[in-house]
């Protein structure tokens, strides 16, 4: 219904079509060339280089590199770490966003700051924290070794570090969304007799689903690509505690460029897929958001 207005509301198009606001052609083309060459130099070229290097020695070498037991182990470990971290942060994130957006309590601002902590500290520091806590000389180290539990230089450490660095993604995405939506719909559901769980399932969740999906995608991308924190706690044991980013580094340091770039190309593909899904979700979320805005009179 707003289609005739939409042309008008796009300021770029409006500026371009009216001679009074149109820039001289040389200004326009200089800016376009500058922007595009920057884009090509810093974004497209590295991406292309990854695939070019990976395939330099042909497809057979490429697939052989990926079929290496160590490479397969790295892929498996990355999938495990992301497979545990993402669902955990999905639950934590929704719970934290729900608490912050729906309730007033003491220490709320402190909690919001705390959620942002993983964004503000260096991932290496995050990894070190876990080493200091669970490492052989850490706080819980002696107790853990007595009970024969390995966390640092083992899979649990990698999962912990991944959960830590990816914690804010879901919560950060949902808090502003849920605050903007308010709690009236949930109150309406409760007055109509719905219990807490059914209110969440039938009213809250459908309203936040696109934001939630968006948060999960970002969370997953970071979980699979995380290097710093995981590098500190992993110990780089080949075939056991190497994730894909760590595997890339090891291969590269050993001058196995084709193999390094082959694994790197998988991560790059993951990034491309993430971007694709992200664009799709944004389109849907944008549509849902516009409907929501129609709903709330200003």
């Amino acid at each position: 219904m707003a289609s005739p207005r939409q042309i008008d509301t796009d300021p770029a198009a409006r500026f371009e079509t009216r001679s009074a606001t149109r820039e001289a052609p040389w200004v326009k083309w200089t800016l376009i060339v500058l922007a595009l060459s920057f884009f090509a130099l810093f974004l497209l070229m590295p991406l292309a280089a990854v695939f070019a290097e990976a395939l330099r020695k042909g497809w057979s070498t490429y697939f052989a590199a990926l079929a290496e037991p160590d490479a397969l182990a790295a892929i498996r470990l990355t999938l495990i770490a992301a497979g545990i971290a993402v669902p955990l942060n999905l639950v934590f994130g929704v719970a934290a966003a729900w608490a912050i957006a729906r309730f007033e309590f003491r220490g709320k601002h402190f909690l919001i700051t705390l959620i942002d902590l993983p964004f503000s500290v260096s991932p290496v520091v995050a990894g070190l924290v876990f080493v200091l806590m669970f490492g052989a000389h850490g706080w819980f180290g002696p107790w853990l070794s007595e009970h024969d539990i390995k966390i640092i230089f083992a899979v649990p450490g990698i999962v912990l570090a991944t959960v830590f660095v990816t914690f804010p993604f879901v919560a950060r995405e949902l808090i502003p969304l849920m605050q903007a939506q308010g709690k009236e719909e949930e109150e309406a559901a409760i007055v109509l007799g719905a219990n807490g769980w059914r209110t969440f399932w039938h009213v809250t969740l459908p309203n936040i689903r696109w934001g939630l999906l968006y948060g999960i995608i970002l969370c997953n991308a970071r979980a699979m690509g995380e290097f710093g924190a995981v590098s500190v706690v992993s110990g780089h044991i080949r075939g056991e505690t190497n994730t894909m980013p760590l595997q890339v580094e090891i291969l590269y340091n050993e001058y196995q460029f084709a193999a390094a770039f082959a694994v790197a190309s998988l991560l790059a593909l993951l990034a491309l897929a993430t971007l694709g899904i992200k664009a799709w979700v944004e389109r849907h979320a944008g549509r849902a958001h516009r409907t929501a805005q129609d709903e709330t009179p200003s």
Partner: protein, 358 residues
């Protein structure tokens, strides 16, 4: 179902939203909670619904203390100012929501739900919209759907929080009449919150006037309008002229002028500070030379109804408003800037109150 609230107190931090409110809402009546924004009317409504809890006091539903009952079990219907329709559900699913959320034992079978929703949509005259989403409806339609949704669970009480507050004037007037008709059909005990005095007086059986977390007056619309109990009610319901002065012998002295009024009969002592009120139609304009009345100068005359409204300025810049018949205004032949006197035919005098909310 009758509702009683007893000694309700509610504070938000240092702000007292409700200070010791006690009210009776008899069964089957449509009652308006009227007051300026921030007077606590919405808070009271939410406490009755159970969406908010009182710091102390009781809510009695049908004589039974509901303070410990969960919102779900109170069987109230609640209509929100901004509709609060479920935006991802169709109109039909919105109305069916309450029925589908019932426990398995109480839930009617799906065909019955469908029939009932259909009936409700017909009741609000919007059955042709059942497949639409809330974003595709106008404000007035959304609010009618919200009402149908609230009625679906057969509530014992209907609570409406500024139901027409977000609508434009014309739709609001239409919905007002429609709500009154609906209430006459269903006779469900209803309370609605509004800050619009015209809306309250026009729709409700009874009006509760609230100010600063307290009840100022309760009564039929006619009663609260004709006999305002407090200065606040007087100034809140309709246009009013206010004079500050002191009791002086046979009248009220305002500045150098004297308004004749038997103030001392009303128990006010000589020299007491008072506030005197007169409605615009209770003031007459007389030539400047006459005795009594307040001196003022004409600043504007507006005549586009059956009456002529004349705006005047008092000696210290105070604004007055007088409503005269057209004939009377023509006979006076007033000109802008002309000095006149205002003579009240009726005057209500209250003892001066610090911050009466005016």
């Amino acid at each position: 179902m009758s509702i009683q609230v007893r000694n309700i107190v509610k504070r938000f931090g240092g702000f007292s939203a409700l200070g010791d409110v006690t009210l009776d809402f008899p069964s089957g009546e449509l009652v308006a909670l009227l007051g300026p924004s921030g007077c606590g009317k919405t808070t009271l409504l939410r406490i009755i619904a159970g969406l908010e809890s009182a710091d102390s006091g009781q809510v009695l539903l049908e004589g039974e203390d509901a303070s410990a009952r969960h919102v779900r079990e109170r069987q109230v219907g609640f209509v929100f100012q901004h509709y609060a329709l479920f935006r991802h559900m169709t109109v039909f699913d919105n109305v069916a929501f309450g029925l589908r959320m019932k426990s398995r034992a109480q839930r009617p079978p799906e065909p019955e739900i469908r029939a009932k929703v259909q009936r409700l949509l017909e009741l609000v005259q919007l059955d042709w919209l059942s497949g639409r989403f809330p974003s595709q409806l106008s404000g007035g339609q959304r609010q009618r759907i919200a009402l149908a949704r609230a009625l679906a669970v057969e509530p014992r009480v209907l609570l409406l929080d500024e139901p027409f507050g977000a609508l434009d004037a014309k739709v609001r007037k239409e919905l007002r009449r429609w709500l009154r008709r609906l209430h006459d059909e269903l006779h469900i005990t209803s309370i609605f919150v509004t800050h619009d005095q015209e809306e309250a007086l026009e729709v409700a059986d009874r009006v509760v006037l609230m100010n600063r977390g307290r009840v100022e007056q309760v009564g039929a619309p006619e009663e609260v309008y004709r006999q305002p109990a407090t200065p606040f009610v007087y100034s809140f319901l309709g246009a009013v002229n206010l004079f500050h002065g002191r009791v002086d012998g046979e009248g009220v002295r305002v500045g150098d002028d004297l308004l004749p009024h038997p103030a001392q009969e009303g128990g006010l002592s000589e020299g007491a500070r008072v506030m005197a009120f007169a409605r615009p139609y209770e003031l007459d304009i007389v030539p400047c030379e006459g005795p009594g009345g307040i001196t003022a100068t004409v600043s504007r005359a507006l005549s586009f109804g059956v009456t002529t409204r004349i705006e005047l300025e008092g000696r210290d810049g105070q604004h007055f408003e007088v409503e005269l018949t057209r004939e009377r205004a023509a006979a006076l032949g007033l000109a802008v800037g002309q000095a006149v006197r205002l003579a009240p035919s009726n005057l209500r005098v209250f003892e001066y109150e610090e911050g009466a909310g005016i």
